[in-house]
Amino acid sequence: MASHEIEIILNRQLADCLSIPVFITDTIGNLIFYNEPAEELLGKRFEDTGEMPVEEWSTIFKPFDNKGDPMPPEKLPLVKTLSKQYPYHKSFHIESLKGKKQAISVTSYPIISRAGNFVGAVAIFWKQKLK
């Protein structure tokens, strides 16, 4: 079994220490780790799900903008990071499958390894209070 690059392993170890939700994906967006605070957002436990394909986890919540219009995937920070390999930040709203709405800011960044390769991405979800 091939192990992840150490840059991915170290990002997971860091995420594991944080009290903010952190998602780690591979280069195509498959969710390879989410920490305990992120379990609350997803409504699932990493221990139960393990890795999740992008088609599965991307439908768990619906993103929409300040006007209440649905946001296309290409406007989301993590999707932009995956396609352009740059960091992005955006504030928007999400609605869970159970209909719970949450104002949120997302910061995403690419993981560029010591060897200079793009090996994955990280998305940090900052919860905001609804005005």
């Binding site: 079994m1 091939a2 192990s3 992840h4 392993i9 170890q13």
Partner: protein, 281 residues
């Protein structure tokens, strides 16, 4: 019928951090990291700690010597300037070491092998010298197939998996796979260095600290003997040599460490010992 020796490994230095001398460390040795791997006249030298000095004269028949550096901390390169084949114009020396994102391997080694730290410049050594940068790489040197991967240790650092026919020797003298709030994640996909050590016949691995010492040295890039044992167990290494002995640990203390470890583990393991030879046959 005579058994043909395929590959020979010899340990020339197994001490960590700084060389130690004296009766307290005589049994396991005081020279810093160095090992040799030999098959016929093909010679690989792993790391250039102070142990490399004696290794320099041990294989006069080898015209080409490949030195594989895991990283450039002083205890892994301090002996390079005292490796006699570097000063022999008839020798061809290849130095392999981890690539950095900023400076070349030549420039980083030259920081040590240049005045005021050393009288001779690396570019002036008389042997035929060639440098090679490695990362997560696979390459062949003579009869050896070699795999290198970055591992968890401060600064660019790799471990090596050396394969010759069916034999595997894995060399990871400096490694902290348990770095994190909950220690090592016990899933092979999430273990630094797993691919290097999986199923190795012999794994030489960092075991610098006791489990009691480790919490106050977290992040320094080394392992406790218990974490080294867990790594060996996860990777299913057949036998593990605990190495990079702490300079403050006497022979007696090392033996107590091993006995304490063995009281709670049944993996095949022993203390790496300077001068120890292993024949793969």
């Amino acid at each position: 019928m005579e058994t043909k020796i395929k590959m020979k490994v010899k340990l020339w230095g197994v001490r960590g951090s700084i060389p130690t001398t004296g009766p307290d460390t005589e049994k396991y040795g005081g020279n810093t990291s160095c090992a040799s791997v030999v098959y016929d006249d093909h010679l690989l030298v792993l790391d250039g700690g102070t142990g490399i000095r004696k290794c320099g004269g041990a294989y006069p028949a080898s015209k080409r010597i490949d030195i594989l550096l895991t990283h450039l901390h002083l205890d892994h390169i301090q002996g390079l300037g005292f490796f006699s084949p570097l000063f022999d114009p008839s020798k061809e020396i290849h130095i392999w070491g981890p690539a950095s994102s900023s400076q070349s391997l030549f420039s980083r080694i030259s920081r040590y092998l240049s005045p005021p730290l050393f009288p001779v410049l690396l570019r002036d050594v008389p042997c035929k010298l060639e440098l090679h940068e490695v990362s997560n790489s696979s390459f062949d040197i003579g009869p050896f197939r070699i795999q290198s991967s970055y591992i968890i240790h401060p600064g660019p650092t790799v471990g090596y998996r050396i394969m010759q026919e069916n034999f595997v020797f894995t060399y990871i003298p400096d490694h902290e796979p348990a770095l994190g709030s909950h220690g090592m994640i016990q899933n092979p996909k999430w273990v630094s260095g797993y691919d290097l050590a999986e199923g190795a016949d012999i794994l030489l691995h960092d075991a610098q600290y006791t489990k009691e010492e480790y919490p106050t040295r977290r992040g320094w890039g080394h392992s406790s003997i218990n974490d080294a044992g867990l790594f060996a167990s996860i990777t299913s290494a057949k036998h593990t040599l605990f190495a990079h002995h702490d300079p403050s640990h006497s022979d007696e203390f090392l033996e107590e460490m091993l006995a304490s470890f063995k009281s709670s583990s049944d993996i095949s393991a022993s203390l790496a010992t300077e001068g120890f030879e292993i024949d793969f046959s």
